[in-house]
Symmetry: C2
Subunit: 488 residues, 2 copies
Amino acid sequence: MDELLERLAEIADLERVSMLLAWDQEVFMPPAGAQARGELRATVGRLAHERFTDERIGELLQSASPRDELEVDVVRVAQRDFDKSRRVSGELVAEMARAGVAAREAWLQARENSDFAHLAPYLERNIELRRRYSACFPEAEHPYDPLLDDFEPGLTTSSLREALDRLRDGLVTLVASAPRVDDAVLRGPFPEAGQRALVDTVLRAIGVDDRQWRVDDAPHPFQATIAAQDVRLTTRYSEADLDSLYGSLHELGHGLYEHQVDPALERTPLAGGASSAWHESQSRLWENMVGRSGGFWRWCLPHAQAALPERFAGVTWQEVQRAANAVRPSLIRVSADEVTYGLHIVLRFELEVALIEGDLAVADLPVAWNERTHAYLALDVPDDARGVLQDVHWAEGIFGYFPTYALGNVIAGQVWACVLADLPDLDERFAAGDFAALREWLGEHVHRFGRRYLPTDLLERVTGEGLDPAPYLAYLEAKLDASAQLMS
Amino acid sequence: MDELLERLAEIADLERVSMLLAWDQEVFMPPAGAQARGELRATVGRLAHERFTDERIGELLQSASPRDELEVDVVRVAQRDFDKSRRVSGELVAEMARAGVAAREAWLQARENSDFAHLAPYLERNIELRRRYSACFPEAEHPYDPLLDDFEPGLTTSSLREALDRLRDGLVTLVASAPRVDDAVLRGPFPEAGQRALVDTVLRAIGVDDRQWRVDDAPHPFQATIAAQDVRLTTRYSEADLDSLYGSLHELGHGLYEHQVDPALERTPLAGGASSAWHESQSRLWENMVGRSGGFWRWCLPHAQAALPERFAGVTWQEVQRAANAVRPSLIRVSADEVTYGLHIVLRFELEVALIEGDLAVADLPVAWNERTHAYLALDVPDDARGVLQDVHWAEGIFGYFPTYALGNVIAGQVWACVLADLPDLDERFAAGDFAALREWLGEHVHRFGRRYLPTDLLERVTGEGLDPAPYLAYLEAKLDASAQLMS
């Protein structure tokens, strides 16, 4: 057991090292260092993979005698990861990586020229390879299941589809009836220095300190945990909007999850979040449930007025909150509002499942994309650059990840209902600048467990229920109702 | 051969990763991340060591068929490193590391209380372990040889002693006859913003650009090469002096060496400098030969006046240059001037050789230290904190490293004589802000070879001569003569 733990600790260390290499590359690396950095990352990734798939790990797992509950969980999770990693040949993994790199290049050019045909053969190749990957798990009910399992261990396509169908129907109704809101107060220009001051105030109020956190700029914001006590957020500033604030809250949610994992789990495969959707639930919770709440803006507005007086002087918190919850169907996922965002995701999920099933040919993808955009968002797609070519995921060979964005919202909605049941005065606490109760609730009920439980088991444990989009839809509906009342 | 190169590339990558972990720790890591960082560094270090000392490397080296001169050098250097690493047991290496950590703690306390007796038993343990290390190489002429060889491959204690004896005698004479110079112009306060502007101007003029370099703050300045095209310098600012400028030039010299290694050597054991002394020769060359030259100050003074007008307005370059070359015997090595610095080093070298030989007991070390300080620098040591306890090296178990500081100056002197023979107008070039000719000369004659040659072979190749302190002493003497003439 000790040898197993030691080996797993080493692998966990290598994964943290990979994270630092990636963080540094995005944040501080001189650009000419990129090629050498690729080698460093490949070497560390290969070593971690080699050491994890080593026969010896299999033997140690077989013969392990866990001495406590934690070790039982370590063995179970490591065994699952190990079995999965052994099912796929190194050649297939390498081929998928190579195909993804080639397709990514093609995607850049295709998007630039809005020329889907240029990408199509690469996409076909990616899909073929993903189906071969899927075939490594012949016991799967559905060919999409093994892809999904990489991000949501144990979740099936059928139960996901059921949840997202209900989410889609609810969202389509909400979008159609949403009030048209004037959100000019959240349009810039916002001077960068003021945004920085505001982001700093908000993050510190929630619990970010210099002893255990860093916040830096990066062109594509992300969160990197180097250790539970070395969590790094990145954000970017555009004078045109306050995305720096919402992006920071989003990354903070990811970081807080990793920060509050039980220290006993460090250097085991259990450190980190339960799944992609669980991670996303935490980022969305802070970004949306907190950052777009009335309580938050009652507290935040004076700080926003101090930092950005040009925009916020003479404004009420109700105006800001209403603007922060405006619904405005648009073509581009990454700039979508909270309500329409889920529809962008469901659309992608439905199309990628059909591609993997073989029910949808790559050549027919743009038409299918445009049809659903019209059906869900009532928008016409003027060109593929603003349609099917807008995201890099499929070009990189990533299938099974998109739905976790929507699932994160669903889970956040279920968790949020539990939070409010336990802490009914939460909005008042936010208004007083008190975010500790929420932070601690999440630590106690979600974060500390890390990867100990499968995502659906964790959901059962936290909420007593299975996947259910109803609480999230109810939360959105209540906000839109309030917004409509304020306007009437 | 290909498998060998692939394995050596992997080890080289891990060493670069170690460097990034160390750089990040000093420069950007939140302090609470220190413990976890220790684990990451230990894991990467252990992996690199394990993979290098693997039997398979030995087999591949045995059967290697190099296909060109570069591969011949790779095999030779790797074989030497491999043989050396296999001679010392892992237990002894671990024991030395543990003893060093314990002794370092003791040293902090001993220095605080100026209480040498508290450190003495730890020091005895370090010396005993170093002698055991040395005994792993029974063919060595002198027990200090294997320690020295870790930093200066192939150099013997006897030839080093001969060179440093001559250096010492020459320096003692120079110090005794050096003019007393008013160096007030280089004493602060210098506002930090002005220092930053000046350092930036100087580094950019020499060739530092944002595409391939970074410059950051760190409490203990150092240079870290993550790749030849990702070189990172650090510096620190004190308002009391211009050490930020000289420290930056010093680290630049280290960085330029690594930056200009032949790209074909990347990811082989040949990337990097030939030895500690060679590295130090490059840092000292830029810090002293360049940074204290008349030409440099003729060019730099207007920039210094623009950045730090409070101090430099109305000052002549001759005054600054004279101050930059002031000789002033003092007790503390790290703040010593260029001339007395060598005597601080020779004193340490002589004492550490005697400790390893067993000719000097640890208990007698403070008295021996104080006697030599008086003999070489004509100073009385008031307490051990300002004497034998001032440096951490021996507490960390580092023996054989100190002399490379002095040897670096000796080599710099020999190289400098060759530079001036090839580029007689160098001082005029500096005065015109042209540092490219020197940079290129060093790249062509020294840097590009990396670790291909043993340090003494490289010296022979560059200068046609063996170790010789005469050029360095002549260089110092010429500066002091010029300084004395200016004053008379």
